[in-house]
């Protein structure tokens, strides 16, 4: 059964017409054309579909889209501030943390949530905070460095 509702994504309200059983990643990707959110497993295992719901990281493949009504959804497409890349984005580029890039949007969203919650994470907190995001290409070292560097950047900001 199709339902009609609204989703607020990156500060923009989108009208949605979709079956009640559709997951959020599917609606973002197929209905709203926001394909920056990836699907690597569709089963809450890989973190590629990570988005923020009112600032909390969730695997959007395992979350019903209709339940996200009235909440603020943040995806990788909204990470940039006008023309400025987020420090996490510039750092992951500089550190060489992007190879195939399939995990990258989910990694960025998890890291973003972590730094919002814990602006000065310990090294362990970074590792645990990103342990729900699988990357098969990089071995994580460069991604870890990028997040550690970004947390320092945010630290020096007043």
């Amino acid at each position: 059964m199709s339902e009609i509702y609204e989703l607020r994504v990156n500060g923009v309200d989108y009208p949605v017409t979709a079956d009640a059983n559709r997951n959020l990643s599917g609606v973002l990707r197929d209905e709203l054309g926001l394909t920056g959110t990836k699907e690597g497993c569709d089963d809450c295992e890989c973190g590629a579909c990570m988005v923020l719901l009112d600032g909390q990281p969730i695997n959007s493949c395992s979350y019903l889209a209709a339940q996200a009504q009235g909440r603020e959804i943040s995806t990788v497409e909204g990470l940039m501030d006008r023309d400025e890349m987020h420090p996490l984005q510039t750092n992951i580029l500089e550190c060489g943390g992007v190879q195939c890039g399939f995990c990258t949007p989910g990694m960025l969203m998890s890291a973003h949530a972590l730094l919002e919650r814990t602006p000065e994470p310990s090294l362990e907190e970074i590792k645990v905070g990103l342990s729900g995001n699988l990357c098969r290409c990089t071995g994580y070292g460069t991604i870890f460095e990028a997040v550690a560097a970004a947390s320092k950047v945010e630290k020096v900001e007043p």
């Binding site: 699907e39 690597g40 295992e45 098969r136």
Partner: protein, 760 residues
């Protein structure tokens, strides 16, 4: 020898985006912004969705297939089976032995039986259930050791290949002999972006375009065209954004199915595998059973290596031929071995099909020969490092194939570099430092530390007389360089490297590499066997150099100087007297310079079928790893604390991205050592998900310290070698050796499971 912090030795000319620099990937910005189009992001307003109906049985006869109930479902546009394949009913990488759709029997769980196209993925799912396939289940062949003589799994017989090697005095006997039997489980490539793509039928002329994440566009094209009964030019394969590969995209997966559905419906058809389907829908790393006997003198010099290797290829051949060849050739490891007797074979079973994965064949035997080197060291009361250094291969040595190792071979340097890093301090009592990590179950008093070493090698590029060619085209026009090459970018960074090569040759960073497509240029060969930088990088370099040469002649004419007075170096054209000094790319406007060429490496030859002797390889790659682990010996939990490595890289064209390859390869090696295995039960996959097939996470990854060993390789662009597979060779055996050192257990099988330690 370069520490990772240092740059390379290559002379750099401005712009500073040439070789030797850690330049950003050209596609990285789009990837961090979320705008990069991966193969499963493809969209077309008229598209249908395709899905594959697969056998639930590893071995069965097909009694009947009834597609009518599925076709009756509203929204279903087509269902195709083996009846609908107009061309060759079979395909395959080296031999064509795998049906597009099973017709009379199924030989593995997940074998495609039919495919459906519908207006929505949900409709596809309903249609998949509605297709009625009646099977008569038969007894599967699942034991690799008895498969050779079991009932035939396939009309071609149960032995895909045997490779014997007889080198030197086969009866030689050492002062000391150590024996061991080793096993490796089935590893999955587990790339993050599942198989996906879209087939688009061209209006009117029967030709078709397929956009797909793949490793080898032209090989796909040939197989797809043959199955569709089309001329090869009527199938155009375009590379779609690829979310990793590691060998699993070298074979055709849904390619023919999507094209058939698109032809039947005359609409674009998109297919994408679910993760559980991906586990069943591509080849894996061959499980291996290896029995070794090493002979040595009392002072530790190797006298002879004897080895029997059996690899489980599953029902279809895929790249088993090459995997078996690698296992045999590299069975003795990177050591001076004067005599060898090797028998390698790859058999068919009804287990999941196996084929290419990073380090194919060489990874399996490295686990065996390195365990043996440690055994030998223990028997002789020698240091594991010392025995490896004593026997380390050098340039000019003869390999067990009789071939002279004539490339650079810094085995000693790799070992010394891996060992040179100071050992990490004993872990603290923090829960994060304990084995079990976030599980927090380790008792610090039960934790033992262990250190292990391993060294590995293999060839790079195609071997054994396979035609190994690649094509590149370079165009220079008004200061803009455009490059064409069909090498598949799968995440490894080819797109960055070729750009750097062009920058260094032509002196401008206005360089664009076009999307890889069979429509635009000849084959680049496969993105596998650590060959694209070495092969296609060299092709692009040659094409750029040829353009630079054309420009040199034109400059000489324009400035009215003799052509031989104009030299080109580092992207600049100069005369000694200084009259001419210009950036090549900017020298002549309004003229189009273009060069296209085919590049091949030196010829290689097949192995003799009885003795396994022959000059079959073109170049070799080496690495050594040292692993430090903490093991809770009571619970069997392992924490890999640190892995250090010295890796032979030729010259690092982009040091940061070389490091990325090494760290990624080590993570897969660590996974194979202590976590990753596809578990089968009478041919059925028991863990086709990331919940049950465990990959290393950021928490599981050890600290990695790297020394790049830079010794320029002749034949490689700017002295570069392939770097992709090397880190996966000896990282696994190094971790296993460290766990053995911590526990005192033999641990002859990887992955090592907690119960192997706790109950060992």
């Amino acid at each position: 020898m370069t520490d990772t912090s240092a740059g390379s030795t290559t002379t750099i000319n401005p712009p500073a985006t040439g070789v030797g620099n850690s330049v950003d990937r050209p596609d990285a910005s789009a990837k961090v912004l979320g705008s990069f189009e991966f193969s499963n992001d493809l969209n077309h307003e008229r598209m249908l969705w395709g899905a594959t109906i697969r056998s639930p049985h590893p071995s069965a006869r097909i009694v009947s297939i009834n597609v009518a109930p599925a076709l009756a479902i509203p929204g279903v546009a087509a269902v195709v089976t083996h009846h609908d394949v107009p061309g060759s009913p079979v395909y395959g990488l080296i031999s064509h032995d795998q049906p597009v759709f099973a017709s009379d029997v199924v030989r593995y769980q997940g074998e495609p039986v039919a495919a459906v196209a519908a207006d929505h993925p949900d409709t596809c799912r309903r249609a998949m259930v509605a297709v009625e396939v009646v099977y008569e289940v038969t007894e599967p062949v699942v034991d690799l050791l008895t498969a050779a003589t079991a009932k035939p799994v396939h009309p071609d017989g149960n032995v895909v290949r045997r490779v014997p090697i007889r080198f030197g005095d086969v009866d030689a006997v050492g002062d000391i002999v150590v024996e061991g039997t080793y096993e490796m489980g089935m590893q999955d490539q587990a790339f993050m972006g599942p198989e996906s793509g879209m087939a688009v039928p061209a209006a009117g002329d029967g030709s078709i375009d397929l956009y797909v994440a793949t490793q080898w566009l032209h090989e796909d094209r040939d197989q797809v065209a043959d199955c569709l009964g089309l001329a090869r030019d009527d199938v155009r394969i375009h590379l779609a954004g690829t979310g990793g590969a590691f060998g699993a995209r070298e074979d055709v997966s849904f390619h023919v199915h999507a094209c058939l559905l698109a032809q039947h419906t005359n609409r674009p058809v998109k297919m994408q595998y679910r993760r559980d389907e991906s586990f069943l829908g591509h080849v894996h790393r061959h499980p291996a059973h290896m029995t070794y006997r090493h002979h040595a003198t009392n002072d530790g010099r190797l006298v002879k290596v004897e080895c029997d290797i059996v690899l489980d290829g599953g029902a279809y051949a895929s790249s088993s031929f090459a995997v078996c060849g690698n296992a045999a050739r590299f069975a003795a490891g990177p050591y001076k071995v004067p005599n060898a007797v090797v028998n390698a074979s790859v058999v068919r079973t009804n287990n999941p099909p196996c084929g290419a994965m990073r380090g194919f064949g060489a990874v399996q035997v490295c686990f065996g020969h390195e365990a043996q080197m440690d055994k030998l060291a223990a028997a002789l009361d020698m240091d594991p490092l010392e025995i490896r250094l004593l026997n380390a291969l050098e340039t000019g040595d003869r390999l067990i194939t009789g071939q002279i190792l004539d490339g650079v071979a810094p085995v000693r340097e790799c070992i010394e570099a891996a060992a040179a890093f100071p050992l990490p301090p004993i872990s603290g009592n923090d829960v994060f430092d304990q084995p079990g990590g976030a599980g927090r179950t380790a008792d610090p008093l039960a934790v033992r530390r262990g250190v292990g070493f391993a060294v590995g090698f293999k060839n790079a590029a195609f071997a054994e007389g396979f035609v190994d060619d690649t094509h590149a085209r370079c165009r220079l026009e008004n200061g803009q360089v455009t490059l064409w090459c069909a090498a598949a970018e799968v995440g490894q960074g080819f797109v960055t490297i070729v750009r750097q090569i062009a920058v260094s040759t032509l002196g401008t960073d206005r360089v664009e590499l076009m999307r890889a497509s069979t429509a635009d240029i000849g084959s680049a060969g496969s993105t596998s066997a650590s060959r694209q930088t070495y092969m296609s990088g060299a092709a692009v370099l040659k094409a750029c150099e040829e353009v630079a040469e054309q420009v040199r002649l034109a400059i000489a004419a324009t400035h009215d100087v003799a052509p031989e007075l104009v030299t080109i170096e580092g992207g600049r054209a100069r005369t000694i007297d200084g009259r001419v000094d210009v950036i090549v790319a900017d020298a002549i406007a309004d003229v189009r310079f273009e060069a296209e060429l085919r590049h091949m490496h030196r010829e290689t030859y097949p192995l003799d079928e009885e003795t396994g002797q022959g000059d079959c390889d073109v170049t070799w790659i080496f690495a050594a790893h040292r692993a430090v682990v903490d093991v809770d010996v009571e619970l069997g939990l392992v924490k890999v604390v640190e892995v250090t490595t010295g890796q032979d890289v030729g010259v690092a064209l982009n040091p940061l991205h070389v490091i990325g390859q090494i760290e990624g390869g080590i993570s897969q090696g660590v996974g194979l050592a202590v976590m990753e295995e596809i578990i089968t039960d009478v041919g059925l996959v028991r863990n086709p998900s990331f919940t049950d097939y465990l990959l290393p996470t950021m928490v599981d990854m050890p600290d990695v310290r790297i020394t790049l060993i830079e010794q320029p390789e002749e034949g490689g662009p700017f002295g570069a070698k392939g770097v992709g597979e090397t880190p996966s060779l000896s990282s696994t055996p190094a971790v296993a050796a460290a766990v053995r050192a911590a526990t005192g257990l033999e641990l002859t099988r990887v992955p090592i499971k907690p119960q192997d330690i706790a109950l060992g």
